[in-house]
């Protein structure tokens, strides 16, 4: 479907993103609950979600804060979890890079998994869209998800304040992360990165200041990158062999 106006592009984005409310809603709720359990009040939990607007980084920071981790390590680890948005930003640049600076600044704040995934597919399949239409679509994908995330956080923080500590909700956080990881593992190289990181992370807990997380994360990243290179070369060799035979 070709867009006639930027307005229709915006609403198309809103409609396409609606199913993602089912994901960001529960996670926002969970963040609110866990923030309340950690001792944050409702305005603090809300400000956290509003200012940072990055689920996995928020969960990471919340966990590490409770483990008495030095602040520098909390920040580095949480930002490392969020490094993928830098990659999203890089891959959206060819489509949105010509928009005015203030629009790009607003768009930057709104780069999350959902808006990126929807937009990049849309921009690839409809190369005729103008830059304003693309921007409108991109903002539309956040029209529900961003307010949904904030409202869910507030609701969760209100609910969480009522839940007694004895419920042991701490364990829900690793479960939430585990739920996110499964669908991210799309290639053999992803699996290599994941399992190397796990293998290194267990002995690395002996390192002081929760540095083990960063060490294990880097080990996993390097393993994933190497695995990708190796698999590409193996595939290239296969093709070369087949071409020689035919």
């Amino acid at each position: 479907m070709a867009f006639t106006t930027t307005k229709s592009a915006f609403w198309r984005g809103v409609r396409d993103s609606a199913p993602f409310l089912l994901v960001s809603g529960p996670f926002g709720l969970l963040f609110g609950v866990l923030a309340a359990e950690a001792g944050l009040n409702v305005p603090e939990a809300f400000t956290f979600s509003l200012a940072v607007f990055a689920g996995s980084a928020q969960f990471t920071a919340l966990q590490l804060l409770q483990e008495n981790t030095p602040l520098m390590i909390v920040l580095v680890s949480a930002l490392a979890v969020n490094l993928r948005v830098a990659m999203y930003s890089a891959s959206l640049t060819p489509y949105l890079g010509d928009a005015p600076l203030w629009q790009r600044a607003c768009a930057a704040y709104l780069v999350v998994d959902q808006s990126y995934a929807l937009s990049v597919v849309k921009f690839e399949t409809e190369p005729d869209m103008t830059v304003p239409q693309r921007m409108a679509y991109f903002f539309g994908t956040n029209g529900l998800v961003a307010p949904g995330w904030m409202i869910a956080t507030i609701t969760g923080a209100l609910v969480g304040a009522q839940i007694p500590e004895s419920w042991g909700l701490d364990f829900v956080l690793p479960l939430a992360f585990l739920a996110m990881i499964g669908p991210m593992l799309r290639t053999p190289a992803h699996l290599v990165a994941c399992f190397v990181a796990i293998a290194v992370s267990l002995p690395a807990t002996l390192l002081p200041y929760n540095l083990g997380l960063i060490v294990a994360g880097l080990a996993g990243m390097m393993a994933g990158a190497q695995a990708e290179l190796w698999l590409e070369r193996a595939a290239a060799r296969q093709t070369a062999k087949r071409e020689r035979q035919s």
Partner: protein, 110 residues
Amino acid sequence: MNGFGQFELWVVIIGLALGSFGLRFAFIGFMGGRPMPAWLMRHLRYTAVAIIPALVAPLVVWPSTTGGEPSLPHLAVAALTFAVGYLTRNVLWALLSGVSGFLLLFYLLS
């Protein structure tokens, strides 16, 4: 608060807000259409799938709810959550199984 104060909380909120925005703005804002070095992109692709498991693994092996004692039921619920996410490719089903498993743990162990 559990192990941290107001000061720590606000340093983290403000630091993360600036840092996350910086990461997101870095390329859309500054790089323009210039290509990224391939080796950097190759490593960035694996940040989330490496760092999140590295964060989770110790929490699953030594759960804080048991006081850090390894626990087979916790391990089983974690494995279930991961397996459902991996096999269905659906975060929501995985989260649902995780929460159901957690409720089961809650009833069994309390």
